[in-house]
């Protein structure tokens, strides 16, 4: 530690200027400014998709910025890779833990910086050093325990210890308390206070307002990839913070409408899955868009996956048009008339090596087959029609889907789902990662589909999208259904309020 060469308090240890980053033409970060003082806990806040993760990935060297500069102790670091940045003294505690399961706590902490004696790793020294380190931080974990036997909370503490052992001057914590019990959170805060007193700076990312007000010195807010403000925590209250996070004018992108009473298509009753969601109840009517809002980890996708038969659930009933249905696989769901457009387009959406046509017909190919043989003319006809309706810009239906843009890939997935003639479609983050033009087309399409009587379950992290498209909105928080708002009642502040509690 070079406490002797301490810089003047006014000089930030880390400074970020005009940082920009685009993915496939979509601006993920636009002109970001940020500074971090020595010994400061600085919270970074923003909705899902505000650009926090991208920003942090650039800081730690996992991504390269398109433009802008990052200074660490007055030295530019924007061109360094992860390894060099860790060497400089910036460490990140990732949300997903990166430990080697078969190695011990001590071996993990000293990974890639083992202490050797005559070609052999000196396990004793490593264990002793780890023991001292953990005790000094007040962490009570056996140093020889294998990482695979630790709880997520314990792993997180070990990650922090590892950052400390790297003599990190800046530690980035991404939702560190999400897996911790109250007692463990207390320990975490004690560790943070301790680090602070030693001059270590912390960037703290969290959705939990109470925590932020408890430990942060300053707060920087991002929204839609833009820098909004940096405030002293003591100058802010909760509602002020929420309005900074969501406070954008709602453009007239969307046109929700008043809905006459119509047939109930989907009815979910008392759906439970341990540790994921509990006591979920809602209905989706013909021609209605029911929005599901909530933060990451609120259980939105888990509910969708359970309804579609991708995962099982513990208890509860699903009724389609009044009939109780039992869905064991997506095949059953499709046969019953449920379609699902996943948030994970690459993982669950399309088959990259198959053509546009083959992808679109995949869920309904048996309808175009006679005695196991595919009637390729019928297939072509059906696919061509739906592709035209969705304005899929594949000059050639025989092009492989992997060569299309994100927006067109998404349309291919939607076309596949629609071709199976569903009564209900679940759209999970349908506009994620696609450009604004394609977004509008998808909104228009949702509108057209509901006019034809289709029921839509819309899951989205973008509040304006869910507010603008939904007739009613269910707000989830930590797997629980908090409230159902009508179009008229709903506002960004209200949704955020329920989603955060």
């Amino acid at each position: 530690m070079n406490l002797n060469k301490m810089q003047p308090a006014t000089e930030p240890i880390l400074g970020v200027n005009s940082l920009c980053k685009s993915f496939l033409g979509v601006k993920a970060l636009n002109d970001i400014h940020f500074e971090l003082n020595k010994g400061e806990v600085h919270a970074l806040l923003g909705e899902n998709g505000a650009g926090k993760s991208t920003f942090m990935k650039i800081l730690i060297g996992l991504l390269k910025a398109d433009s802008g500069s990052i200074y660490f102790k007055g030295e530019p670091i924007e061109n360094l890779d992860v390894h060099a940045i860790i060497q400089k003294g910036i460490s990140m505690i990732h949300q997903e833990i990166l430990m080697i399961p078969e190695l011990s706590v001590a071996q993990n902490i000293f990974l890639a910086k083992e202490v050797n004696r005559a070609f052999f790793i000196d396990e004793q020294v490593i264990n002793q050093k780890t023991e001292t380190l953990l005790r000094s931080m007040g962490i009570d974990i056996e140093v020889s325990e294998k990482a695979k036997n630790l709880s997520i909370a314990q792993l997180q503490l070990v990650e922090i210890a590892k950052a400390v052992s790297n003599e990190a001057k800046v530690i980035i914590m991404d939702e560190p308390s999400s897996a911790l019990s109250e007692l463990e959170v207390e320990l975490l805060f004690k560790i943070i206070a301790d680090l602070k007193s030693k001059g270590v700076s912390i960037i703290y990312i969290s959705h939990k307002m109470d925590e932020i007000f408890q430990i942060a010195d300053r707060i920087t807010i991002l929204r839609d990839g833009k820098y909004i403000a940096t405030k002293n925590t003591k100058d802010l209250d909760k509602s002020g913070l929420i309005s900074l996070m969501v406070g954008r004018e709602i453009k007239e992108l969307f046109t929700a409408k008043e809905l006459p009473e119509s047939e109930v298509i989907l009815k979910v009753e008392n759906l439970n899955k341990k540790g994921r969601f509990s006591n979920i109840n809602f209905e989706v009517h013909s021609g209605e868009v029911l929005g599901i809002a909530g933060l990451m980890g609120a259980g939105r996708t888990e509910i969708a996956r359970a309804i579609y038969g991708l995962d099982n659930f513990d208890s509860g009933e699903i009724r389609l048009k009044g009939k109780k249905i039992s869905i064991k696989s997506p095949k059953d769901a499709i046969a019953e008339g449920i379609g699902y457009v996943s948030e994970d387009r690459k993982g669950l959406g399309f088959i990259p090596e198959l053509s546009v046509k083959q992808n679109i017909s995949l869920s309904s190919i048996s309808a175009y087959s006679k005695a196991f043989l595919i009637d390729k003319k019928e297939e072509q006809k059906a696919v061509k029609q739906i592709a035209e309706e969705l304005q899929i810009k594949a000059s050639n239906l025989n092009k492989k889907v992997k060569y299309l843009s994100g927006g067109n890939q998404q349309k291919v997935v939607i076309a596949r789902v629609l071709l199976a003639k569903p009564a209900l479609v679940i759209l999970d983050e349908p506009s994620r990662g696609i450009d604004i033009g394609a977004k509008h087309e998808i909104y228009k399409l949702i509108r057209q589909l509901t006019e034809k009587g289709l029921a839509v379950l819309l899951i989205s992290s973008e509040l304006p999208e869910i507010l603008g498209m939904s007739d009613r909105i269910v707000v989830l928080s930590k797997g629980k259904q908090k409230i159902t708002l009508t179009q008229k009642e709903a506002s960004q502040e209200k949704i955020m309020h329920y989603a955060l509690h």
Binding site: Y308, L310, S329, P330, K331, A333, I334, A335, Y340, S342, G347, L348, G349, F350, I351, P352, E353, L354, Q358, L362, S363, I365, S366, S369, F372, L373, I374, K376, R416, A420
Partner: protein
């Protein structure tokens, strides 16, 4: 550029043609009908195994039990094919059934236990070999009926029966892969298993089918081999699976799944056959032939991966 991309698609076929043209210039015997009859007859058994394992590899799996299935079905057929016992159809059906059974067992274990196909089929490879030895008591089963031996050595319409069977199986397998829903599901499953499941495909059923098809084709190969060598050998077929996999890989089927064709596999099989044949014609020692074959396998995959990269 598009033209070049098209050409790449037929890369291995062009290599194959180039080798054939070269050989016909070096050796006048090469392009004769009798020489080609020999080549195709020699590769027919490997071709059947390679067709089956093409299905498996397109789904992203592997089948190492093929050689052992050949032995089990061959011994089974031979035991039921003694003169003046059962009609010809009995040993044939029994041998095919034996292949189906082992293939279905592979599929069942892979889908139910979630153990990697490599491990499961490695296990059945050993189990199959043991079964063949148990059935035959470790001895070759000879004294086969004339009609059974006729399958492997006779001619119909002027063509060896082996070649006729090969052509029929080639057509059936191509149709399954290109024109049926099962074929479409096989490519989808290999391309992205999770997305295939989310699209409503019964992944388990497709995998069962694929390993069963592979087993039946290996069963058929066992019948043909036994008929050709006129004995049921419990030690027959050892290592055949590797030749079959080599042909599939040379034919451009990706071992990570989602891509490949029966046509490509046929080219792979013929390429192996032609090279062995020509090295024979040129009096190259069989020791060198193995080295050449290994280099060709690696070369084909390198060629393929280079194409992949330049596509991006």
């Amino acid at each position: 550029m598009r033209y070049i991309n098209k050409l790449r698609h037929y890369g291995i076929f062009i290599v194959f043609l180039a080798i054939c043209i070269n050989l016909s210039l070096i050796s006048p015997q090469f392009l004769t009908i009798s020489n080609w009859t020999i080549i195709i007859t020699q590769v027919s058994i490997n071709a059947l195994l390679a067709f089956g394992v093409t299905f498996v590899i397109i789904t992203g799996g592997i089948d190492l039990s093929l050689g052992s299935i050949v032995a089990v079905s061959g011994v089974t057929a031979a035991m039921l094919a003694h003169p003046n016992t059962y009609p010809l159809i009995v040993p044939i059906l029994a041998a095919l059934f034996a292949g189906l059974l082992i293939g279905a067992f592979n599929g069942f274990m892979i889908t139910k236990s979630k153990i990697a196909p490599f491990i499961v089929t490695l296990g059945t490879m050993t189990i199959g070999r043991g079964l063949a030895l148990i059935l035959s008591d470790g001895r070759p089963v000879s004294n086969l009926s004339d009609s059974f031996v006729f399958i492997g050595s006779g001619k119909l319409l002027g063509l060896p029966i082996l070649i006729l069977i090969l052509v029929i199986m080639f057509i059936i397998c191509s149709v399954i892969l290109n024109k049926t829903t099962l074929g479409r599901y096989i490519y989808a499953l290999g391309g992205n298993e999770q997305a295939a499941r989310a699209s409503g495909i019964m992944v388990t059923r497709v995998k069962m089918m694929v390993y069963s098809i592979s087993g039946v084709l290996a069963g058929l190969a066992g019948i043909l081999l036994t008929s050709r060598i006129t004995t049921g050998q419990p030690n027959a077929g050892a290592g055949f699976e590797l030749d079959a996999i080599a042909a599939v890989v040379i034919g451009g089927t990706s071992t990570s799944g989602g891509k490949g064709s029966i046509g490509g596999t046929m080219i792979g099989v013929l390429l192996i056959g032609v090279i062995n044949n020509s090295l024979d014609l040129l009096n190259v020692s069989s020791y060198y032939q193995q080295v050449v074959m290994g280099l060709i396998i690696i070369g084909a995959v390198v060629l393929d991966s280079l194409n992949q990269k330049s596509n991006y």
